[in-house]
């Protein structure tokens, strides 16, 4: 079976760095982006099966919802887990509209991240 690809999109570099390290140890081939435009470029080239996207990226030319919209336009089957804050109800609604697979809340915790990734890979038949 080919190696699963995971894209991590977050404007906080430490989050990207350590999420990549954690999932590389778990056997994923990981890619990181600290802005939305780079994330979409990586997606076009690498087509990761799982995409972990921070909704709120104030210093990025496009935010997480727009990254999701563009990814889904390229590949409607791509699994996208949106990372939001409890206060971002409207953006979560927008993400639902564009077909996000799951949501997790910041501050991030590894157990919750593992669960969300396991769920979307199971749903999409990516584990088998």
């Amino acid at each position: 079976m080919s190696q699963q690809k995971l894209l991590i999109v977050d404007d906080e570099p430490t989050i990207v760095e350590f999420t990549q390290k954690i999932y590389e140890k778990k056997g994923y081939l990981t890619f990181g982006a600290t802005d939305g435009v780079t994330a979409v470029e990586i997606f076009k080239k690498e087509r990761p099966q799982v995409n972990l996207i921070d909704i709120h990226m104030p210093y990025s030319a496009i935010d997480g919802v727009e990254v999701l919209r563009q990814i889904k336009e390229i590949d409607p089957g791509a699994a996208c887990i949106m990372v939001s804050r409890i206060t971002e109800k409207q953006k979560v609604e927008d993400s639902k509209k564009y077909g996000a697979s799951a949501y997790i809340l910041k501050p991030l915790d590894l157990d919750e991240l593992d669960k969300a990734i396991a769920e979307v890979t199971k749903e999409g038949g990516l584990n088998g």
Binding site: E12, I15, I86, P107, D109
Partner: protein, 159 residues
């Protein structure tokens, strides 16, 4: 968690009874900024803990950078004077109610202090030393406390 304030129950009762709130925009900002910093510390610690490795000095320094960032946000957000409030977008909001301010400064600052102490505990005259599993566990306990406190306060101020 930081030691409870002796009058904590009374303060939370007052928040509910007097309908003390926090402007939604301020909550947004707190969750955005603190959420990022706490997530970064969590993931960094969990990576090393899961791999049964000590945290090397360079990454221990990153923890301090993030705690300093949260501390600065708490300091800004708890500014007493409306004129000095550093966030122009919330100029029309009154500064935080004194009870909210006290709770924030007590709980979050104490948890940050303990996280910093855990990092400093592994430094000696030669400089920063790696953080052991015991220190990593302690840091994770206190990042969870910050998260739990924010959630408790958010729920209490939803009136």
């Amino acid at each position: 968690m930081a030691n409870p304030m002796p009058n904590e129950k009374e303060l939370f009762d007052r928040i509910q009874n007097e309908h003390i709130t926090v402007a939604p925009g301020i909550w947004d900002m707190l969750y955005n900024k603190i959420g990022d910093d706490v997530s970064a510390i969590n993931l960094l610690c969990q990576f090393y803990l899961t791999n049964k490795q000590e945290i090397p000095p360079a990454d221990a320094e990153k923890i301090l950078t993030h705690t300093m960032d949260v501390k600065r946000i708490i300091s800004d957000i708890t500014t007493v004077s409306k004129d000095n409030f550093p966030f122009p977008e919330f100029k029309e909001n009154t500064p935080l109610h004194p009870i909210i301010r006290d709770l924030f400064t007590h709980y979050v600052n104490n948890d940050l202090y303990i996280i910093n102490l855990s990092v400093y505990d592994c430094s000696d005259p030669q400089g920063q030393q790696p953080l052991t599993a015991r220190h990593i566990q302690k840091i994770l306990t206190h990042t969870r406390c910050i998260r739990d406190f924010l959630e408790k306060l958010r729920k209490a101020t939803l009136t």
